[in-house]
């Protein structure tokens, strides 16, 4: 009994981490370049795009979940992919939720750094790509914070993964949907215990990233 309990628990925690970390990595790959281009690029519609990305930070997870459900449902346009009720659908949902956060943070940081180092880069006659890369490297600590904020969003949301994942035991059940389920069964102690684990995880990840950040800010030419 206890053995299955711990195995189930480990499964749920592992899936939570896989889905949310997967979503954050995917989101970072897309959002960091997007944010940097928004910061340095000069093109039409940039202002509107910046506004849109900022506003998207407030996207309600249930709405994202519902939209993806309609898209991934067998009766929907992407139905044949068979993505509904899979961890992949959950990763996609959380990626959409995390992209605006990382993109916004990135844009703000890179814009600030560009103002600071702009003259120097101009003197060096750096091209667009070079400037972008240099500033992103300088922005690393701030980017880490952005990624952490995104991870917090991904790990804690329940609305989207509940709809597109379906909270299927041993397959798409993650920490947040398990907490919802146990609460609805009236197993409040178990629900609280799961909540405690989720909190500890978030805390631990924050601590780890905090340490990495500190190391990054040390002079690199020691």
């Amino acid at each position: 009994m206890a053995a299955t309990f711990y195995r189930d628990l480990a499964e749920i925690v592992t899936l939570s981490l896989e889905v949310s970390l997967g979503a954050v990595v995917l989101a970072a790959l897309l959002a960091v370049p997007l944010g940097a281009v928004l910061a340095l690029g000069r093109f039409r519609g940039r202002g509107a795009l910046v506004l849109l990305v900022n506003a998207a930070m407030g996207l309600p997870p249930v709405v994202v979940g519902l939209g993806l459900y309609l898209l991934f449902s067998r009766a929907g346009p992407l139905g044949p992919l068979g993505l509904l009720y899979t961890p992949a659908a959950m990763i996609i949902a959380q990626t959409i939720l995390v992209i605006p956060i990382i993109a916004s943070f990135t844009r703000e940081t890179v814009e600030g750094l560009a103002a600071e180092y702009g003259d120097m880069l101009a003197v060096l006659r750096a091209g667009f790509g070079q400037r972008l890369l240099t500033l992103l490297v300088e922005a690393r600590p701030a980017l880490l914070t952005a990624i952490l904020a995104g991870l917090g969003r991904a790990l804690s949301e329940v609305g989207a993964v509940m709809i597109v994942g379906g909270n299927i035991a041993h397959y798409t059940r993650v920490m947040t949907t398990a907490i919802t389920l146990e609460t609805s069964k009236g197993n409040l102690a178990l629900a609280m215990a799961l909540g405690g684990i989720l909190l500890t995880l978030a805390l631990g990840l924050n601590l780890a990233v905090g340490l990495i950040r500190e190391r990054m800010q040390e002079p690199t030419h020691a």
Partner: protein, 295 residues
């Protein structure tokens, strides 16, 4: 050296997301090959929350090697999801809606699977004196007369549909009191029971969820036994003519297994606090000619 140690520090953090990505890619690929050996069951919540699936599915998976994925939502949503082809089999409890689902060609046919009953639960001190009601309709009339708080599921689930039918039978329309003593939760059975326990309200519950529910607080079972509270569960295979993606072979295996003597006995053997939660409706009858009524 610095780079090396940084790599060592970053590697574990990178491995998991990469695994997840690989997993995602795998899931996409597997998805296009459409679930041989896995079944999606669109189900009512009571069968999951009461623990029935945990009791029967391991035996089924062991017998057949078919993996069952249960998506537990309200009966109304389960029927809608299945009509959109997002499932292979339905296990729900709203007979008129199930028959309509089949009549529309969305399902092949409805098989009676099992039954239990609905119960009216409420605060132990019972201000509306539901304990002495003569019928379910009378119980609701007493609650309405007393203006005692009543939490409705409000989610088009099987239980909600039953509750609405009971109000109708009592000649009452509680929606006028919505926001007053009549409170529509828009939530599953367990969440609704939590609310009822929290505000000392009455509510209608299926017996299975009630028996398995662990946060009763001051709630007690106050009324049961009226034939109007009968709660039959049906099983329907989604019609492949409507949804070509239906895993029809495995769905048939699942149906036949659940309706077989073994499946039915397993359903009947499920106990919570030593009480039987579900009563099989398709037990093969061993009467003379040995014909069973399962099919």
């Amino acid at each position: 050296m610095k780079i090396r140690s940084a790599l060592a520090r970053w590697c574990p953090a990178l491995v998991r997301p990469l695994l997840a990505l690989a997993l995602a890619a795998g899931a996409v690929l597997a998805g296009t090959g459409a679930g041989a050996g896995t079944l999606i069951v669109q189900s009512t919540t009571s069968t999951r929350n009461s623990g029935l699936y945990d009791h029967i599915l391991p035996a089924f998976e062991k017998d057949t090697g078919i993996k069952v994925k249960v998506v537990a939502v309200g009966t109304g949503q389960a029927l809608k999801n299945a009509a959109r082809c997002d499932g292979d089999v339905l296990v729900v409890h709203a007979k008129p809606d199930e028959e309509a689902f089949v009549a529309k060609g969305h399902g092949i046919r409805r098989h009676p699977l099992m039954h239990n009953d609905f119960v009216i639960v409420g605060p132990r001190d019972d201000p509306a004196d539901v304990r002495h009601a003569r019928s379910a309709a009378d119980a609701l009339t007493r609650i309405a007369k007393a203006g005692a708080p009543f939490v409705s599921r409000g989610d088009e689930s099987g239980t909600h549909k039953k509750e609405k039918a009971l109000w109708k039978a009592a000649g009452l329309d509680p929606s006028a009191a919505s926001g007053g003593w009549y409170r529509e939760a828009g939530a599953g059975m367990g969440a609704t029971l939590n609310m009822a326990a929290g505000m000392g309200a009455y509510t209608l519950s299926d017996r299975g969820t009630w028996l398995a529910f662990n946060n009763r607080g001051d709630l007690a079972l106050l009324f049961a036994g009226d034939p109007a509270l009968y709660n039959p569960y049906g099983l329907i295979i989604v019609n492949p003519a409507h949804c070509p993606n239906v895993n029809i072979e495995d769905a048939r295996v699942f149906r036949d297994w659940l309706l077989s003597e073994k499946g039915q006995r397993l359903i009947g053997s499920y106990r919570v606090h030593s009480e039987q939660l579900f009563f099989p409706d398709a037990l093969p009858q061993k009467d003379g000619n040995g014909k069973d009524k399962a099919e």
